[in-house]
């Protein structure tokens, strides 16, 4: 934080306060809402006519919804990575990144839960999970850990926000009236006293410690939805670690993209500095290498043996129908980022932004590849079904709902950033005080 040394308290507050949408912000939000509406209409059609509007059929019984779900769960892991691990490890440059990653975590986990309801054939029977739930089913484990993670993440975001809300309440001019009421409701009890601060600090530490195992659980359990079956490509003991490492990678990529976007939109160059991008770049290299390592385990070791059940699945990925997507996900999602980020110039904000997008897009397709091709290789031959059952390409309803959910997640982040500071004002002031002391 070399540059922010000269900043005054008023300047920091002024810089970090949430800002009204400019024209670009309005257009951005309108586009997101439009996507959400199209998705909502597609979901209405799905409710009316049934899952027949999707192109999922008896063999490919899980499609883009489930891969989207896995993607959301993966990206939501970043909240725990940046906030909790960095805090416990006392990483000094974490302040401008924590709030962003918590916001990403909250929005992603919300849409993970929503998209799994979209995938259900009988969403109105959701409560059966509680009235007839059987603890031996990995789905129930997922319900438990995802709701736990959601609560901890929300609480963590809230607790870290309290002093900032207090600060915003004191600066009345910029904030619109109706939201002032909400701010008061959220944080009027906060008195800025040291004993309150002590409690808050304790709470954050406890939350940070608890969120790490829960975060590992959400993605490990999600991987078990696949790994508890006998299907080639899913029947793997590597799956938990493979999913968690992938989740850290895509989450970090997502944070880099958001860092760049907020820095540009809110003019935060003095807070999110090149140094932050440089550090995150190094992180990304490490995480890409880690994910690559698990990919080698996941694909090359079965390919060495080429068991009959795995062979058709693996050849379809390596050189068959799914090869372009597979190599795209491997190259764009992992290998090219590693090479770009090894160079100092590659870790500048703009190249980092592009690499971040590559990582996220690659990760999305990677999730698609984990779900769909496996289902096209059942253990008994695919016969006696209409020809359309032999292939899977999502219908427009599936695309709309999936894009709508992605837009919805971005919309939540946008709205949160509209009403709450994307960088903790309180923490930045504190850091500043420490610097000058």
């Amino acid at each position: 934080m070399e540059k922010s040394n000269q900043l005054s308290e008023e300047q920091i507050i002024q810089d970090l306060l949430p800002q009204k949408f400019g024209r670009r912000g309005m257009i951005w939000t309108a586009i997101l809402i439009l996507f959400c509406l199209v998705g909502a209409y597609a979901y209405y059609r799905q409710l009316r006519y049934g899952l027949v509007v999707t192109h999922m059929r008896d063999y490919v019984s899980w499609g883009i919804y489930i891969s989207n779900f896995v993607f959301f769960v993966a990206i939501s892991l970043v909240g725990s990575l940046i906030t909790a691990i960095f805090r416990l490890a006392k990483v000094p440059w974490r302040t401008p990144l924590t709030r962003i990653s918590e916001m990403i975590a909250i929005s992603a986990i919300t849409f993970a839960a929503l998209i799994i309801i979209v995938d259900m054939g009988r969403p109105e029977r959701l409560l059966n999970l509680f009235t007839h739930g059987r603890i031996q089913s990995p789905i129930l484990w997922d319900v438990i850990v995802i709701s736990t993670y959601f609560c901890i993440s929300l609480f963590l975001l809230y607790v870290t926000l309290i002093p900032d809300i207090k600060i915003m309440m004191n600066v009345k001019d910029k904030i619109t009236k109706p939201f002032h009421k909400i701010y008061r409701w959220l944080a009027s009890f906060w008195k800025d006293q040291s004993d309150q601060e002590k409690i808050r600090d304790r709470i954050i530490t406890i939350l940070c410690i608890t969120i790490i195992p829960v975060a590992f659980c959400i993605h490990t359990v999600t991987s078990w939805l696949f790994a508890t079956t006998y299907r080639p490509g899913w029947d793997s003991t590597n799956f938990g670690a493979y999913f968690v490492s992938g989740a850290f990678l895509v989450g970090a990529g997502g944070v880099v993209v958001a860092m760049y976007a907020f820095r540009r939109a809110y003019k935060l160059e003095r807070y999110i500095t090149d140094m932050h991008f440089d550090k995150m770049g190094r992180m990304l290299v490490l995480l890409s290498l880690l994910y690559l390592y698990f990919n080698v385990n996941e694909y090359l070791i079965p390919a060495f043996k080429m068991k009959k059940s795995e062979a058709s699945h693996l050849t379809q990925l390596f050189s068959g129908e799914y090869a372009p997507m597979f190599w795209f996900a491997i190259l764009v999602g992992m290998i090219i980022p590693i090479f770009v980020l090894l160079f100092k110039k590659g870790r500048k904000p703009l190249p980092m932004f592009i690499v971040g997008i590559m990582v996220v897009v690659g990760a999305w397709f990677k999730r698609y590849l984990i779900v769909t091709p496996t289902l096209l290789h059942p253990l008994l031959p695919m016969q006696e079904v209409p020809e359309s059952y032999h292939i899977y390409f999502p219908s427009w309803e599936e695309w709309s709902i999936s894009l709508g959910s992605l837009a919805g997640a971005l919309l939540i982040i946008t709205i949160l950033a509209r009403y709450f500071p994307v960088i903790s004002i309180f923490k930045t002031l504190e850091d500043e005080k420490e610097k000058s002391a």
């Binding site: 007839h132 789905i139 508890t228 006696e384």
Partner: protein, 331 residues
């Protein structure tokens, strides 16, 4: 199917009644007042005659004709409770033996099953797969049902106990509870499960004499008949426990003209295809019976007898094969 007849009841054995029964509304027709003598059973209210006459066979063996308006449906079986359906039949362990040497891909099993369970075309519960295990091995036809595993992977993963294993060995689905997550479909290594992606077809196959909504609301759902099927839930071969309770064989077993399927109770150590009955243990021992994917540890209740000394050459079944599957011979 048995019919109970007494003085006031008649049995009508035409197509409309069969459809009537098959569409899940188990009912017999009761003709009231079929003789010209004044009967004490004539209801108080006057019935508007339709003018349409129905022929019935009286207990004396006479064919009598009465107006259709006098027919009214009466349920012939008392419904089992959900609990009874989930528990299954005490002291039984049902088992199926499929003799691959007798199968020539006639698919009579499939059409009987599809008809009885109102299965969507293309979502067959019974599939006849053309198998060829290796490059130089002999191809054969393999009818595939639900394996009714003793360690069912589908039951393990179901989050709401909608699919369950009964004491008689049958794995069933409770479509009133299924949330449609399709985890069981992913978990089943035999890919035997199908999903009601759209409205089930029983809306189409209804008896003409009754208005459709009336029919749907009256039709009692049973896990044992798997009817009426419900949109957004999973379906699969159920071993026809409703037939077993009547003392009859599952539809696929009785439909097969070649006696490929044999069904029975392992505790009685007997299986039958309707025409021949075998001691189960001897049959498996003598013909080297086996189960599919034994290495997975799922312990299926369906046994296969290897395709040796075949009744038909493999080629004789090719004409019944779907064009798409001719390319996709085996995996």
């Amino acid at each position: 199917m048995s019919c109970k007849c007494n003085k006031e009841e008649g049995c009508q054995n035409n197509n409309s009644r069969r459809e009537f029964l098959l569409s899940g509304l188990a009912a017999t027709m009761v003709a009231v007042g079929c003789s010209d003598k004044t009967s004490p059973f004539i209801p108080e209210e006057t019935i508007a005659l339709t003018g349409e006459k129905v022929k019935l066979l009286s207990v004396d063996g006479e064919v009598i004709e009465i107006d259709k308006a006098y027919l009214k449906p009466v349920p012939d079986i008392t419904h089992l409770t959900n609990k009874q359906e989930r528990e299954g039949m005490a002291g039984k362990k049902f088992v199926m033996v499929i003799d691959l040497s007798r199968c020539k891909n006639l698919k009579k099993c499939q059409s009987a099953c599809n008809h009885a369970h109102q299965v969507h075309p293309g979502q067959n519960w019974v599939k006849v797969l053309s198998m060829d295990d290796a490059d130089h091995s002999a191809p054969y036809w393999q009818p595939t049902t639900c394996m009714h595993c003793d360690e069912p992977p589908c039951v393990k993963v179901c989050p709401v106990d909608a699919t369950f294993k009964r004491q008689d060995g049958i794995v069933l689905i409770d479509s009133n509870r299924c949330i449609g997550c399709r985890f069981c479909m992913a978990a089943c290594p035999y890919t035997t499960r199908v999903f009601n992606w759209e409205d089930p077809i029983q809306a189409v196959v209804t008896d003409n004499s009754m208005p459709q909504e009336n029919m749907d609301s009256k039709q009692h759902y049973s896990c044992e008949t798997s009817l009426p099927q419900k949109k957004g839930t999973v379906g699969k071969c159920d071993f026809c426990p409703d037939m077993i309770r009547k003392g009859e064989l599952p539809h696929c077993v009785s439909a097969c003209p070649n006696g490929v399927f044999m069904f029975g109770d392992m505790n009685e150590d007997a299986v039958t295809n309707g025409a021949e009955t075998y001691r189960f243990s001897d049959l498996i021992k003598d013909k080297a019976g086996y189960r599919l994917m034994e290495d997975l540890g799922t312990k299926p209740s369906v046994y296969y007898l290897p395709p040796v000394n075949r009744s038909f050459p493999f080629e004789s079944g090719l004409e019944n094969q779907l064009p798409a599957d001719q390319m996709n011979h085996s995996k």
